[in-house]
């Protein structure tokens, strides 16, 4: 459950005290989300999804150019992957896994482990979107060459230390501002994205001079203009930044700036400190079912140097479903109520 970082701690602590707390902070996602995960996981469900969905229509087209001559990135794409952001230390400096390691990784996908004692657990493997196109890479990060995130700046260290200290203190948020942006249904996968257990899906639309990316995760839309317009004014910050694009040959190059001071990107845990960051993403359609997607993040407040990662997009079936997150965020009530109960117990035990 690496995607969910500190969340298992939270569920075990809060869940034990307050039984109605949802299993995961992401329990808020709608039933439609659940149906979607199912359709991606079993062959029979896939067949029925195909029958009722516009998937075939929206699947990436074989033609690689739009009628007006731009490279055609349109269709439905998954950014789920088994490739970790950072190279596991055990792999040493190897850039690719061996066949044997790949087989082990695949086999592990079908094994459910019971939760630890006292932990109410989470979804089992069946529900998770683990990625369709196994890459042999040992890390998404290709630069620095060791496949690891660059060293943190002093401010980056302070951000990580503050978060770790708060988690060690029992994950008892005083209010919603101490929770993460995804707990609040503000943003999650981010720009550039890192996948999580589900809804790792884009639909890309194009019109002359405009590329739109609908991210299924918290229904975020990126409108990327390629008409040469500049970024929005520097005093306008946005949770998912402001993106402008240009075509370099067959590659869509997108620059994103104007991040919100509290924007959290998942490199590797949800960190803030990206308000001065610049991300450059490159999308290149390599065949009917693959977009070579890579990005460089320069976040001088957090990391001592830029890093570059590769995260191929694989064609998948649609449709995308509505990820109504805030609308069903019972978790927020459960988490805060649980935290207040823990406060009361702590106060009692001090007497």
């Amino acid at each position: 459950m690496s995607q969910h970082g500190g969340r298992s701690v939270m569920t075990s602590v809060v869940g034990a005290v307050f039984l109605t707390v949802p299993i995961m902070a992401h329990g808020q996602s709608s039933t439609a989300t659940v149906e979607r995960s199912t359709s991606r996981t079993t062959a029979s469900a896939q067949a029925s999804a195909t029958k009722t969905s516009p998937a075939k229509r929206a699947a990436p087209r074989a033609t690689m150019k739009t009628p007006w001559g731009e490279p055609d990135l349109q269709g439905i794409w998954s950014y789920a992957t088994l490739t970790p952001l950072e190279r596991p230390k055990a792999v040493g400096d190897r850039e690719f896994f061996t066949d044997e390691e790949m087989q082990k990784q695949q086999a592990a996908l079908s094994v459910d482990r019971p939760p630890r004692k006292g932990d109410p657990g989470t979804y089992n493997r069946f529900w998770f979107d683990q990625g369709r196109a196994p890459s042999r890479r040992t890390s998404q990060i290709i630069d620095p060459p060791d496949g690891r995130l660059p060293a943190l700046t002093p401010r980056g260290q302070a951000i990580v230390a503050r978060r770790n200290a708060w988690r060690a203190d029992g994950y008892r948020p005083a209010d919603w501002l101490e929770l993460q942006t995804d707990d609040r249904c503000i943003m999650y996968h981010g720009v550039p994205p890192q996948p999580s257990g589900y809804n790792n899906t884009y639909q890309i639309f194009q019109a002359p001079g405009l590329v739109a990316i609908l991210d299924e995760n918290i229904h975020h839309v990126r409108l990327i203009h390629t008409d040469g317009r500049p970024h929005i004014g520097k005093n306008i910050s946005q949770w998912n930044g402001d993106s402008v694009g240009r075509w370099e040959g067959d590659t869509l190059v997108v620059q994103t700036t104007n991040y919100h001071p509290q924007t959290e990107l998942r490199f590797p845990q949800q960190l803030e400190g990206f308000e001065n960051a610049v991300a450059v993403e490159r999308f290149r359609r390599v065949d009917a079912t693959t977009i070579d997607y890579r990005f460089t993040v320069d976040a001088p407040d957090v990391f001592t140097r830029p890093f570059t990662a590769v995260l191929p997009l694989a064609a998948t079936e649609g449709p995308l479903f509505e990820y109504a997150c805030h609308e069903g965020n019972h978790s927020m009530i459960g988490i805060l109520r649980g935290a207040r109960l823990l406060d009361q117990e702590a106060a009692k035990s001090q007497k």
């Binding site: 969905s53 929206a58 005083a174 249904c185 639309f205 409108l223 509505e322 805030h326």
Partner: protein, 269 residues
């Protein structure tokens, strides 16, 4: 010298008049007003659009009145407005009319807009924020500024809605120059306006987007809901193309503005 200049000037004027006449005859409104079209010959609706009316306050005729926050006085009171409902009356069933009146009385407590919930259709169209249409032959994206809402209109699928959605399940088709969108699969949790006008999960909306110039769409929504209304009814309004050179819907992820309201009672004191 003088004679030659005069002839040249006359010739230029004649050419200019000829061009103006040709434009007027050919287009009726002039070149700038021609409806943009896609390569397939359909109207091209791609762009940033916005309604300019008071329908989000109340889709029916309404007088000006004081707003709900005393301190905000004239700055956030309710402007008068001519309604957008055809014939002005909404054919509520008797129980539903009472419910509408209750909703209106308890507006701020009950209106899903106050909580930053996805606004549903047709309300998203006439909230006071821009929205972006990105048109392709197979799927049309509508991305709204409010709550970062969006929906995809499937032009090539007749599949029924597989679930209930805040923004509904949209299937589109072209009837001449009109984009007709059939929307079903709604929840019963969205409203039409701040005046308590509401619907059930049997809401069925048929929207018609017809370009009347490069800068205008005629928007019509037929509302049908057998649980709430006695017959179908219509609302109608123009939508305007936003003309600022770099216009785009910005982020309005309003969750952060409602957390104190929704969760304030659970903060550590």
């Amino acid at each position: 010298m003088r004679g030659r200049t005069g002839v040249a000037l006359c010739a230029r004027v004649a050419v200019a008049v000829a061009i103006a006449t040709a434009v007027a005859a050919g287009q009726g409104q002039g070149v700038g007003d021609r409806i943009p079209r896609t390569r397939e010959g359909k109207p091209d609706l791609t762009g940033t659009w916005q309604a300019i009316n008071t329908a989000n306050w109340d889709i029916q005729d309404h007088p000006a009145r004081r707003g709900p926050v005393l301190e905000l006085g004239a700055a956030f009171s309710v402007p008068a407005g001519a309604g957008v409902v055809e014939g002005n009356d909404i054919p509520y069933q008797p129980w539903a009319l009472k419910q509408k009146q209750e909703n209106a009385k308890n507006w701020t407590a009950l209106d899903p807009e106050v909580k930053c919930y996805l606004p549903g259709i047709p309300r998203a169209t006439y909230q006071p924020y821009p929205f972006q249409i990105v048109q392709t032959p197979t799927d049309i994206l509508m991305a709204y500024e409010f709550a970062n809402a969006s929906r995809v209109i499937y032009m090539s699928s007749r599949a029924e809605s597989p679930s209930e959605f805040w923004m509904g399940w949209s299937r589109g088709r072209w009837e001449g120059d009109t984009l007709v969108v059939d929307v079903t699969g709604f929840t019963d949790k969205t409203w039409f306006d701040r005046a308590g006008n509401f619907h059930s999960n049997e809401l069925h909306v048929v929207e018609r987007y017809t370009p009347t110039s490069r800068y205008h769409l005629s928007y019509e929504a037929t509302i049908e809901d057998p649980k709430v209304f006695t017959r179908p009814w219509k609302m109608r309004m123009p939508l305007y193309r936003r003309m600022e050179p770099r216009v785009r819907p910005l982020e309005y992820i309003c969750v952060e503005f409602v957390e104190e309201l929704m969760y304030g009672h659970l903060k550590r004191k």
